[in-house]
Symmetry: C2
Subunit: 132 residues, 2 copies
DNA sequence: CAGGATCCCCCAAGATACTG
DNA sequence: CAGTATCTTGGGGGATCCTG
């Protein structure tokens, strides 16, 4: 993460402004967790069962990172002592838009991607295309 | 990457359909390279100087992966023998939308994120918030 | 110039076990 | 149940050198 602001004339590439957001999506779970918080505060247990396949440790790490970036807020439950809730901040909520755009794209074009993968002929994404 | 299709009632979280797109953004350079190909075919050298900060090796790897997923197409230049060009496929072009959404968000809310980072009081995103 | 081959490092992410 | 502490690993990504 190198959030240097450049004076690049080409405003999108070397410009780290955009990187900042891409980095937020560069974690396996960030987007998923944000999405899981979509409609209201959730406790860690709830999140884990909603999401599925994420360990307690990794969930905590993810939440910490989101918190660090101001997208998520951690609150101790009013009454109970060791009840915890996480919720989106106002900033976090604005990020749902882009996430949705990405998710929606997956639903529309997921098939094509998978088709391309199979058509590739290799299991390894890095090996140069076989024939042709 | 576990592109399993689930029968999840909750269509967004455990459902790997969305993951498929998120994974495409989970690389440091995928989005940047796609964006750099935005307005037409480009040769590797051009890409490198346009982007800045990406090594030849990593660029190749990135392009391979994008090619593998059907987002990018590799073509030998018509006349010259060892001239190469990469271009977006039709599928790849459809992905510019979501990418743009993410990039645009960065320009709008990047300040807030950086402010949050500084307000965090720690340099380490994973350490629990100091006071409070 | 394109891009393969090596070597190295770092860290996200998983598994497991333990505390308040 | 929330969270930390360890240990391990896979692979992305950087640097460097080498070839057609």
């Amino acid at each position: 993460m190198w959030y240097v602001t450049t004076d690049a004339t080409d405003a999108f590439l070397a410009d780290c402004r955009a990187r900042l957001a891409f980095d937020l999506l560069s974690n396996t779970w960030n987007a998923v967790v944000l999405w899981a918080l979509r409609d209201g505060p959730r406790r860690p247990v709830e999140l884990r069962e909603r999401i599925g396949g994420i360990s307690s440790k990794v969930l905590t790490e993810t939440l910490r990172r989101l918190q660090f970036n101001g997208l998520v807020d951690r609150q101790l439950h009013p009454d109970a002592p060791s009840r915890v809730e996480y919720r989106l901040t106002a900033l976090g909520r604005t990020f749902l838009g882009p996430i949705d755009a990405v998710g929606a794209w997956a639903f529309e074009h997921g098939d094509e991607v998978m088709a391309a993968q199979e058509a590739a002929g290799t299991a390894d994404p890095l090996s140069p295309p076989p024939t042709r």
